[in-house]
C-alpha cells in the first residue's frame, strides 16, 4: 500500500502534468527536465552574484522553442478584438505586422511576416496564455482568466501595479518565469561533462558570445546586425542549429522577451537581445544580465506550459499500482 502511494505521489510531484489532453496548438515545444537542478555558481555568473538566484526549477515543463510569431498572434488578435475595449489599431494588438480592417472587424497579416516575432505588452501576452489555457475559446472569459486574472490588472495611485504576480496553479500555459527562462536558455545537465551540471554564459550552449551575422554566412544571431541597414526583422528560428541545451532557439536576437517574474510592483523581468541592436548586444545575452520593464512596454515572449501526461503512461501506472496492491 505504501509503495503504491509513493509511486503515484512521485509521479505527480515530478511535473506540471495534467491528466487528459493538453493541446500543442501547433507550437514547437522543448521539454525541460533535470528536476531540482542547482542554481548558478558564482563562477558561472562572474561578478554578478544576484544572478546566482535564478535558474533552479523543480518540475518538468515545456517552452516554445521560439518566441510567439505573428501568424500565431493573428489568430489570437482576431479572436480577442471583439472583446477588446481599446482601439483595434493599438500596438499591443497589432504589433508591427498586423493591420485592422474596420469593415470586417478583423486583422490581416503583412505578406512575409508569418514568422516575425510579435511584440506586445505583458498584459496582452498574459491574455494570450489565458486563451490557450481555455482551449482557444472565443468567449470573453477565456481571455480574462485561466493563467492570469485580468481583473487584477491595474495601477495604484503610486503607480505600482496590482496585477497578479504569478500564474494561477493548474494553468496549462503561462508566460515563462524567470527561473524557467534562465534554465531553458542556460542550464545544461552535462555542462562540464556527462552528468556534470552547470550553466553556459550565453543561450546557445557556449561561453563564447554568439557570432552575429546572417545564417547563410555562418552567423549565429541577428542581434548584432544593424536595424534598417541589414533589414527590418528576421524570421524566428532562422538559426535552427544554434540552440540552448534544451533546444530553444533565438535566445539571442529575435525579440527581447517578457518573463512572468516581477522585479517588484513596478517592473517585470525581461531578457535576451533583439534583432538589429548592433554591437553591444552580447551583454544582454549574458546569463548575469537582465533588465526590467513596465507592463506597458512592447516585447516578445514565448509560452511555457505543462507537459501533457500520455494516456498510455497513466494506464501503466494504474496497472502497476493494482499489481502492487494484489501482491501484498
Amino acid at each position: 500500500m505504501r509503495s503504491t502511494l509513493f509511486l503515484c505521489l512521485g509521479l505527480f510531484a515530478t511535473s506540471y502534468a495534467v491528466a487528459g489532453p493538453v493541446p500543442d496548438y501547433g507550437f514547437d515545444w522543448a521539454e525541460i527536465g533535470a528536476l531540482g537542478n542547482r542554481r548558478p555558481l558564482l563562477s558561472e555568473v562572474p561578478g554578478f552574484p544576484d544572478a546566482a538566484q535564478y535558474g533552479s526549477v523543480n518540475y518538468h515543463y515545456r517552452m516554445t522553442r521560439t518566441e510567439v510569431v505573428t501568424s500565431q498572434w493573428l489568430e489570437f488578435a482576431n479572436a480577442y478584438v471583439a472583446h477588446y475595449d481599446g482601439s483595434p489599431t493599438a500596438f499591443e494588438m497589432t504589433g508591427w505586422w498586423l493591420s485592422y480592417d474596420s469593415s470586417i472587424g478583423q486583422y490581416s497579416m503583412a505578406d512575409g511576416a508569418a514568422l516575425a516575432p510579435v511584440e506586445t505588452t505583458w498584459r496582452m501576452a498574459a491574455r494570450f496564455t489565458n486563451w490557450l489555457s481555455n482551449g482557444k475559446s472565443n468567449d470573453a472569459p477565456a481571455f480574462e482568466n485561466g493563467a492570469y486574472d485580468t481583473s487584477t490588472f491595474g495601477r495604484n495611485p503610486d503607480a505600482t501595479f496590482t496585477d497578479q504576480l504569478e500564474h494561477t496553479p493548474g494553468a496549462a500555459f503561462w508566460i515563462p518565469t524567470y527561473d524557467e527562462w534562465v534554465k531553458g536558455m542556460h542550464y545544461d545537465p552535462n555542462r562540464y561533462g556527462q552528468g556534470e551540471e552547470g550553466y553556459w554564459r550565453y543561450p546557445h550552449s557556449s561561453d563564447s558570445e554568439p557570432l552575429s551575422g546572417f545564417p547563410e554566412e555562418g552567423g549565429e544571431t541577428n542581434a548584432g546586425l544593424t536595424w534598417g541597414q541589414d533589414g527590418w526583422f528576421m524570421d524566428a528560428g532562422s538559426y535552427p542549429d544554434v540552440q540552448s541545451p534544451w533546444g530553444l532557439l533565438d535566445g539571442s536576437g529575435g525579440a527581447r522577451e517578457w518573463t512572468e517574474t516581477a522585479f517588484d510592483r513596478m517592473y517585470r523581468f525581461i531578457d535576451g537581445s533583439e534583432f538589429g541592436e548592433g554591437n553591444g548586444f552580447q551583454v544582454r545575452d549574458l546569463i548575469e544580465q537582465w533588465s526590467i520593464a513596465f507592463p506597458e512596454g512592447y516585447y516578445g515572449f514565448r509560452v511555457a506550459g505543462v507537459i501533457p501526461a500520455p494516456w498510455s503512461s497513466s494506464l501503466a501506472i494504474g496497472g502497476l499500482s493494482l499489481l502492487l496492491r494484489k501482491t501484498r
Binding site: 505586422w97 493591420s99 469593415s103 517588484d264 538589429g276 553591444g280 513596465f294
Partner: protein, 597 residues
C-alpha cells in the same frame, strides 16, 4: 607569495565594496576592479541621499567588453556619474556597459547626469532602469556612445545624446529604448553618422508640452515615438533633415495632439511590414512636415489638420506593403504639397462626418486645388482628373461623385452610339450598404426621352420623381461596386440613344468611414430636390444623342432659332476645343441655316 597576493586582493576588494555601502557594485570583464568613488552631495534639490559617482575602468585584455552594474541599495539618487572607460591594450575597439538600477525594495529616486569622459579610450553603453525620475533638476545630461535602455517611472527631462568625443568606435550610435512612466522633455539626439533611435515611449504621459517641445534627431532611422497622451516634438531624421534621406516609421499620440515639426527623407514602411507604421493622433495635427521623399505610411488624424506637409515625393502605395494615405477626421485647414503625379492614393477629410471642411490647399506638382481656386481646381468637388494627379483623389465625406472621372462625364453628351456600361467615380471609396447589389442596388437609374416639354426647361432641372419626364429603369441593369467606382452594366435594359439619364445614390455608403454615412451627390442636376419620401441628393447625369446631335440644344429634334437662343443663354462647346465661344456660335448658326449637323 600567491596566498599573500590573494589576501591583499581580498582585503582591497572588501574595502572597496564597503565604501560603496549605498551602491552595490558588480562587474566583469575588467582589469582587476574598477575604481569607483562616490561622494555624498548635500544641498541639492534631488530627493534621497545624493551622490556623485566617478568610474574609471579598463576592459581586460582577453575581453571585447566589460560590464559594471551599480544598484541603489537604499534611497539613493545620482547627481553626476562620470565614466572613464579604457581600452586597455591597443587594437580591438572595446566597450563597457554601465548598468545603473536599484535592488528590489530599494529606491532610486533620481539621476541627473551620466557622461563618458572624452579622454576615454573605450566606448560606453548605458542601461539605466528603475529610476523614479531622469533629469529635471537642472543638469539633465546623458552623454554616452550608446543608450541601450533608459527608463523611469516618473518624468524624463534631459538631453540624451550619443555624440561624445573620444572612445574607441566599438559601438555604433544608437538609442535603443527610452521609456518613461511620466512625461518626456528635453532632447534626444543620435545625430552622428548612422545613428538610429529605436523606441521612445511615454506610457502614461506626454512627450513635450505646448510650451516645451522635445527635440528628437537621428541621422539614419527612427523606429517609433509613442505617447499615451500628446506629442509636442521637433523630429528630425537625416544628416540634413528634410533634404537628405532618413526613415521615420511611426509617431503615435494615443490620446492627444501631434504638434511640432517633422523633417525626414521618407515616412517609410519596411519591406515586409504591417500597416501599423503610421503617423497618428486622436486630436489635432499641428505639425509642419518636410520630406525629401515619399510618404509610404498612413497619416491618421482624429481632429483637424492644422499643419503643413511639404513632400518632394508621392503619397503612394505602389510597392509591397506601402500604404501612404492621409485621413483627417476634421477640417483640412493647412496645405499639402506633393510632387507631380504624386497623389497616388488619397486624402480624406471630415471622416468624423461632422460637417468639417476642406479649407486648405492641396498642390500636386503645378496643380493646386482648394477653396480659393476656380473652375476645375475649386474644392471640394474639383474637376481635375485623378489621372492628372497620380490616380488618387481628395475626398470630403460624404463622398460625392467626381464629374470628370466618370464615364461618361457628368453633364456630357455621349454621341458614340449608346454606352454598354457607365462608371460613376467618386472622391472616396464607396460600397453597397447591405452588400447585395441585386436586392438593393447602390444607385437608382432614371431615363428620359431626349425630347422634353418646354415647360420643364432642361432635364437637369427636373427632379427624378417627375414621372412625366423620368422613368425609373433601375431594375434593368447590373451593378458592381469596387473602390471608388460604381459600374452600371446593361442587363434586361440597355442604355439607349436619344435618351437622358439621371442617377442618384440609393443603398450606397461611404466605405472606410466610421458609421458608413450615406453617399450624397452634389451637382447641378437636381436629383430628388422636392421629392417626398426620398433622401435629399443631387444627381449624376448625361445625355445619349443618336439624332441631330449636338446642335439641337433645345432638344426638340429640330435645328431652328430656338437652338441659337439656347446657346446664347448657356454657351456650350460645340467644336470640341474646350471653349464655348464665338466659333461655337458660328458653327451653330451654320448648322441651323443649313438644317443639318
Amino acid at each position: 607569495m600567491n596566498k599573500l597576493y590573494y589576501l591583499v586582493f581580498l582585503i582591497v576588494s572588501i574595502f572597496t565594496e564597503c565604501v560603496h555601502a549605498n551602491w552595490s557594485v558588480t562587474h566583469s570583464g575588467l582589469v582587476l576592479f574598477p575604481t569607483i568613488t562616490r561622494t555624498q552631495v548635500f544641498g541639492t534639490s534631488l530627493p534621497g541621499t545624493v551622490w556623485d559617482i566617478t568610474i574609471d575602468a579598463t576592459v581586460a585584455s582577453g575581453s571585447s567588453f566589460g560590464t559594471i552594474n551599480l544598484q541603489s541599495t537604499n534611497n539613493d539618487s545620482i547627481r553626476y556619474c562620470t565614466i572613464t572607460a579604457r581600452n586597455g591594450s591597443s587594437g580591438t575597439p572595446k566597450f563597457i556597459q554601465i548598468g545603473i538600477s536599484r535592488q528590489s525594495g530599494a529606491t532610486f529616486p533620481a539621476v541627473e547626469s551620466v557622461i563618458r569622459t572624452s579622454s576615454s579610450t573605450a566606448d560606453v553603453q548605458l542601461v539605466l532602469t528603475g529610476a523614479g525620475q531622469i533629469g529635471g533638476y537642472g543638469i539633465d545630461l546623458f552623454k554616452v556612445d550608446k543608450i541601450s535602455e533608459l527608463s523611469c517611472s516618473g518624468n524624463l527631462d534631459a538631453t540624451i545624446t550619443t555624440s561624445v568625443s573620444g572612445g574607441s568606435g566599438a559601438l555604433s550610435p544608437q538609442i535603443g529604448t527610452i521609456r518613461s512612466g511620466g512625461d518626456i522633455f528635453g532632447s534626444i539626439l543620435c545625430s552622428d553618422a548612422g545613428g538610429q533611435i529605436l523606441e521612445i515611449q511615454s506610457t502614461a504621459g506626454n512627450i513635450g508640452s505646448a510650451s516645451s517641445t522635445v527635440t528628437i534627431w537621428a541621422d539614419n532611422n527612427i523606429q517609433t515615438i509613442e505617447a499615451d497622451g500628446s506629442i509636442y516634438a521637433d523630429i528630425d531624421v537625416g544628416s540634413n533633415p528634410g533634404v537628405s534621406g532618413g526613415n521615420l516609421l511611426r509617431v503615435v499620440a494615443n490620446d492627444g495632439v501631434l504638434d511640432g515639426r517633422i523633417r525626414a527623407g521618407k515616412l517609410h514602411v519596411p519591406t515586409m511590414s504591417s500597416l501599423d507604421e503610421e503617423i497618428s493622433c486622436t486630436g489635432d495635427f499641428s505639425v509642419d512636415v518636410t520630406l525629401s521623399d515619399d510618404i509610404h505610411i498612413p497619416i491618421i488624424i482624429g481632429g483637424d489638420f492644422l499643419g503643413e506637409i511639404d513632400c518632394d515625393g508621392s503619397l503612394t502605395d505602389t510597392s509591397g506593403n506601402w500604404d501612404g494615405r492621409i485621413e483627417i477626421g476634421g477640417d483640412l485647414d493647412g496645405d499639402i504639397s506633393l510632387e507631380a503625379s504624386g497623389l497616388v492614393t488619397h486624402i480624406y477629410v471630415n471622416l468624423n462626418d461632422d460637417d468639417s471642411e476642406w479649407l486648405g490647399e492641396v498642390t500636386v506638382g503645378s496643380t493646386t486645388l482648394g477653396p480659393g481656386e476656380s473652375g476645375d481646381n475649386e474644392s471640394p468637388y474639383y474637376g481635375v482628373l485623378s489621372s492628372t494627379l497620380g490616380g488618387g483623389a481628395i475626398g470630403l465625406v460624404p463622398f460625392n461623385f467626381h464629374p470628370k472621372d466618370c464615364a461618361p462625364d457628368h453633364g456630357s453628351t455621349y454621341s458614340s452610339g449608346a454606352p454598354t456600361s457607365v462608371e460613376i467615380h467618386h472622391y472616396g471609396p464607396v460600397k453597397d450598404g447591405d452588400g447585395n447589389t441585386s436586392s438593393t442596388p447602390p444607385v437608382r437609374v432614371y431615363e428620359a426621352s431626349i425630347y422634353i416639354d418646354s415647360m420643364y426647361g432642361q432635364h437637369k432641372n427636373v427632379e427624378v420623381c417627375e414621372t412625366a419626364v423620368w422613368t425609373e429603369v433601375t431594375s434593368g441593369f447590373d451593378y458592381s461596386v469596387s473602390g471608388r467606382v460604381v459600374t452600371i452594366t446593361n442587363d434586361t435594359d440597355s442604355f439607349a440613344t436619344d435618351s437622358v439619364y439621371q442617377i442618384i445614390p440609393a443603398d450606397l455608403v461611404c466605405d472606410d468611414v466610421t458609421g458608413n454615412p450615406d453617399v450624397v451627390y452634389v451637382s447641378d442636376w437636381v436629383g430628388t430636390d422636392s421629392c417626398t419620401g426620398m433622401n435629399d441628393t443631387d444627381g449624376y447625369g448625361f445625355k445619349v444623342f443618336g439624332g441631330f446631335g449636338m446642335f439641337d440644344l433645345n432638344e426638340n429634334f429640330a435645328l431652328e432659332t430656338g437652338d441659337i437662343a439656347t446657346w446664347i443663354a448657356a454657351p456650350v462647346d460645340l467644336d470640341d476645343d474646350l471653349d464655348a465661344d464665338a466659333l461655337d456660335l458660328a458653327a451653330l448658326i451654320t448648322a441651323v441655316a443649313n438644317g443639318q449637323e
